[in-house]
């Protein structure tokens, strides 16, 4: 797993383009070229940045071609750069947190946030970029709180604002006039408005559409002569005789105030023409550049502290990125792409009150997912209630879930609070929901729709706020068809369905989980066992795991208890695992029939690939491992056969 950054600086044409967020269709187009990994594409003005985290990073020319093919990058590239590993991470943090020396656009953090949220919603960004972006946000705030770095004005707009502040002090009592109008003046005005400037007067020909949407405290006059002479700042964008007239008018006033004149004509007209005066501070473009250079030089004093923060954030992220923690999510482990998608989904739905249906074979971790949803929700501080619908006798279940009143049935000596009532403002996890009797299904449906329950034997209803998460190891759709489960309840529960894959379909996670359990049990039993022998690990990976993660956990616990040396050997594993032939699970060509003897090599390859995929339940990762080819190759081959991978 690698992380790579592809940074493209666009030419002047590109710089003129407004910042944009590529559409979802465009990004889907790009995703076809970037399979099997997470990626993020950000387009701040004048740049196009692509970040990829996965096993098959494209080359720099390929990345450029992809971005062009997807229609994201149309301008010619003035400069391109590829960074890998820690450099890519540090580059991301610098640019996103607006602390890159050459790319200090203060809006980068917003561009990156927009692109990240979009990529997360579309499923292109996952935990890697989630963590990386959250590090960038933290860094952005830390640099501003702990260092002076961001206080240095290194852009024309901020340099002008700083100068104006030094000369005029509080800008809320200052007036700014503009003669002519250009983009620089527009940027400066925006910055001065942010500083609370009192009034803005613009003279000159500006489009009627712009005049119509002029911000508050801004007036437009056609002739520069009509500008008030009591201005404090003058932005002169064109050579106008009105400037000198205004200065003469000002000198005739009894109470003169300093004037800050910015010569934005580009050829320093006023800097050459006007005489030095006590109350006139005259700055041309070159002088503002001088201020920026001065500030850049001064800013270097703060770099040591900033570099320390960047280094700290980079190391923290990279340590996480290179460790198994990357695959951990709320107590669950999973490097498999399906599990990563589930983790993302859980994170997104947890804060809502949406009902969730979790299905998967026994032992796949359904309850852990439910607990994660509860913990990450606003109800997380409250107790989490679990009930196994199959474990409670049918005649007691209603009373357990909804409670009863005294005398409701024989033996009901007192009022009893049901599980739903106890779980008010919290979450109830209904395990094995498929075992719920039909008459209780009606009652549950009513609660899900109306938020009300009625205790057994009671005539009054009780309004409750309970989030329901249900789980089943059976296929509820089949049960609905067979009439064993109410279809209306099924659809009501199935607002969000999370299907947990069985362990045999995510064999790549077995070493990770086995290692995790080994470490845990070794600590618990005070054993100095560090790893599995290669044969033992091979057996673990090859075994079918009908009991899934729960079975793996038990097997590792047993192995740790039985092992003598520093490693768990094959003989510490239970017989079914040990005797499982490592190759038996690997898909193989089925016996060739007579007619197939004349197949071409290409046909055999196609047949083999499809069969392998079939036996791996179309899990690309497992299939590509068995086939001994990369996932990108597998995808390419499938496209050749006319299959379009999702």
């Amino acid at each position: 797993m690698a992380i790579t950054a592809y940074l493209f600086r666009l030419d002047a044409h590109g710089e003129a383009e407004p910042p944009r967020l590529p559409s979802a269709d465009v990004l889907h187009g790009l995703s076809e070229h970037l399979p099997g990994g997470e990626w993020l594409c950000v387009c701040p003005p004048g740049y196009c940045d692509l970040y990829y985290s996965g096993d098959a990073p494209p080359s720099l020319p390929n990345a450029a071609t992809m971005l062009r093919a997807a229609g994201i990058m149309s301008a010619t590239v003035a400069e391109q750069q590829q960074e890998d590993g820690k450099n890519a991470v540090s580059g991301f943090l610098r640019i996103a947190a607006c602390i890159a020396d050459k790319r200090d656009n203060p809006h980068n953090i917003e561009f990156y946030q927009e692109a990240f949220v979009q990529a997360l919603e579309l499923g292109f960004a996952g935990p890697v970029f989630q963590n990386l972006f959250s590090k960038a946000l933290q860094l952005f705030e830390k640099v501003r709180a702990e260092t002076e770095f961001a206080q240095f004005a290194v852009r024309t707009e901020t340099a002008v604002r700083e100068l104006a502040g030094k000369i005029l002090g509080d800008l809320s009592r200052s007036t700014v006039c503009v003669i002519g109008y250009n983009r620089t003046a527009d940027g400066i005005l925006a910055e001065l408005r942010q500083a609370g400037i009192r009034a803005v007067h613009i003279a000159g020909d500006i489009p009627a559409a712009t005049v119509a949407v002029l911000p508050a405290r801004t007036t437009h006059v056609r002739q520069a002569d009509a500008l008030p002479s009591d201005m404090d700042i003058l932005l002169a964008c064109e050579d106008s005789p009105a400037v000198e007239k205004l200065l003469v008018n000002r000198s005739g006033r009894r109470r003169s105030t300093p004037l800050l004149l910015f010569d934005l004509t580009g050829n320093e007209v006023y800097c050459r023409k006007l005489r030095e005066r006590d109350d006139l501070y005259l700055y041309g473009n070159a002088d503002i550049r001088g201020v920026i250079d001065y500030n850049r030089t001064e800013r270097r004093h703060t770099l040591q502290a900033v570099e320390r923060l960047i280094e700290q954030a980079t190391t923290e992220f990279y340590t996480w990125f290179r460790s198994d923690q990357r695959f951990e999510f709320a107590g669950m482990l999973g490097s498999d792409s399906r599990m990563q998608r589930i983790f993302q989904l859980v994170e997104r739905i947890a804060p809502t009150d949406i009902t969730v249906l979790i299905d998967g074979e026994s032992g796949t971790g359904k309850e852990l997912v439910a607990k994660a949803i509860h913990r990450m929700s606003t109800r997380g501080q409250r107790q989490f209630y679990t009930v196994n619908c199959g474990a409670i006798p049918e005649n007691l279940l209603e009373s357990e879930l909804f409670g009863h009143v005294r005398g409701a049935f024989t033996g009901a000596m007192a009022d009893k609070q049901g599980l739903f009532e106890a779980a008010d403002n919290s979450t109830v996890f209904l395990d094995e929901i498929g075992e719920l009797p039909l008459h209780l299904q009606v009652k549950l449906l009513r609660f899900l729709q109306e938020g009300e329950i009625r205790k057994v034997g009671s005539n009054t209803t009780l309004r409750l706020d309970v989030r329901v998460i249900a789980a089943t190891n059976r296929t509820l759709a089949d049960m609905v068809e067979a009439g064993l489960f109410r279809s209306d309840l099924y659809y009501r529960l199935n607002v969000i369905q999370i299907t947990l894959p069985p362990l045999r379909e995510r064999r790549g996670d077995i070493p990770l989980m086995a290692g995790h359990f080994l470490h845990r049990f070794a600590q618990k039993m005070h054993r100095d066992i560090a790893h599995f022998s290669p044969e033992a690990m091979q057996a673990l990976v090859s075994y079918n795991w009908p009991g899934n993660i729960r079975e793996l956990e038990n097997v590792v616990e047993r192995a740790v208890a039985l092992s003598i040396g520093k490693a768990v050997s094959l003989y510490n594993l239970p017989e079914p695992v040990r005797t499982h032939a490592p190759t038996s699970e690997i898909p193989h060509l089925s016996a060739t029939t007579a007619s197939e003897e004349y197949l071409t090599l290409k046909d055999i390859e196609k047949k083999h690939i499809l069969e392998t995929l079939e036996s791996c339940n179309w899990n690309y990762e497992s299939a590509s491992r068995y086939l001994g080819i990369g996932r990108t190759t597998l995808w390419r081959k499938l496209r050749e056969y006319g299959y379009s991978p999702e």
């Binding site: 002090g169 509080d170 300093p258 006590d278 109350d279 001088g290 201020v291 001065y294 004093h301």
Partner: protein
């Protein structure tokens, strides 16, 4: 007592060193050690003056040495309060050396050993001297901030940003402090000169006008009056008022030290 006085001067020196380091490293607010050492120096100085007052049975303003020390302590106290009120510590690096220089002059000046004139025990006379000292303190602060104003203004106007641009606050900030100091100084100078005139009329009749130092003090008063009138009536500001403040302080130095040594007259307590 003399050793203690030198220790106080050393404390002021240490505070200046720390404040200068803060200024150079652009630390605002200043670091805790700088503030603590300056506070300790000022506290020690006030205690020292308090002890002298108790020991002498009068406010120590009978000699040039005593007067300078009292003057510095009062100016430093006014500045100390202002520093905390305005939360800007960048001026300390420039004000403290002035205090230190004056205290060294005070320490090196010969102290009188004989009896002092009886008039110095009169409360009304003490009010005259203290008022004049407060006004001179305020004029000193105005001089220093006006100098900083001129330095910063020159840097900005000549578009050659350097040491002061990033480290000093805005020009109006200095202007406000300078104007406020001049107003305060004028108020106390009016009181001081009024009391002085009353005394002079009582003690020397009309002959006091022949005392060059009194004339110098009145000229000084007129300069600062010009500062106040110019900005209130004619709208003067910026460089013009800053220059008046600098000129006024130079005149003040002349009247306070040079005139005491060059001219004789009634107005002599050395």
């Amino acid at each position: 007592m003399h050793i203690v006085f030198w220790i106080i001067i050393l404390l002021y020196c240490a505070a200046w060193g720390l404040y200068f380091r803060d200024f150079y490293q652009r630390r605002n607010p200043a670091s805790m050690p700088s503030q603590l050492v300056f506070s300790a120096a000022l506290f020690g100085h006030i205690l020292h003056l308090g002890a002298a007052t108790v020991q002498l049975g009068r406010i120590p303003i009978a000699s040039l040495s005593e007067t300078i020390s009292t003057f510095v302590a009062m100016t430093a106290a006014i500045y100390w309060v202002q520093e905390r009120r305005l939360r800007n510590y960048s001026m300390s690096a420039f004000i403290l050396p002035v205090f230190i220089a004056m205290l060294i002059v005070s320490a090196l000046t010969v102290r009188p050993t004989g009896p002092i004139p009886a008039i110095l025990h009169d409360v009304k006379f003490e009010i005259h001297v203290l008022s004049m000292l407060i006004s001179y303190g305020a004029f000193t602060v105005s001089f220093i901030v006006s100098m900083l104003f001129l330095l910063l203004s020159r840097e900005i106007q000549q578009r050659r940003l350097g040491l002061f641009y990033r480290r000093l606050p805005s020009l109006p900030f200095f202007e406000q402090i300078s104007n406020a100091s001049v107003t305060l100084g004028l108020a106390f100078a009016t009181l001081g000169l009024g009391m002085g005139t009353y005394f002079a009329l009582q003690v020397w009749r009309f002959s006091f006008f022949s005392d060059p130092k009194i004339i110098i003090a009145f000229v000084n008063y007129l300069i600062y009056l010009l500062h106040l009138g110019g900005r209130e009536l004619a709208g003067w500001h910026g460089r013009r008022t800053a220059i008046i403040s600098v000129v006024g302080f130079c005149w003040l130095l002349f009247s306070f030290v040079v005139a005491s040594m060059l001219f004789g007259g009634e107005h002599n307590f050395l």
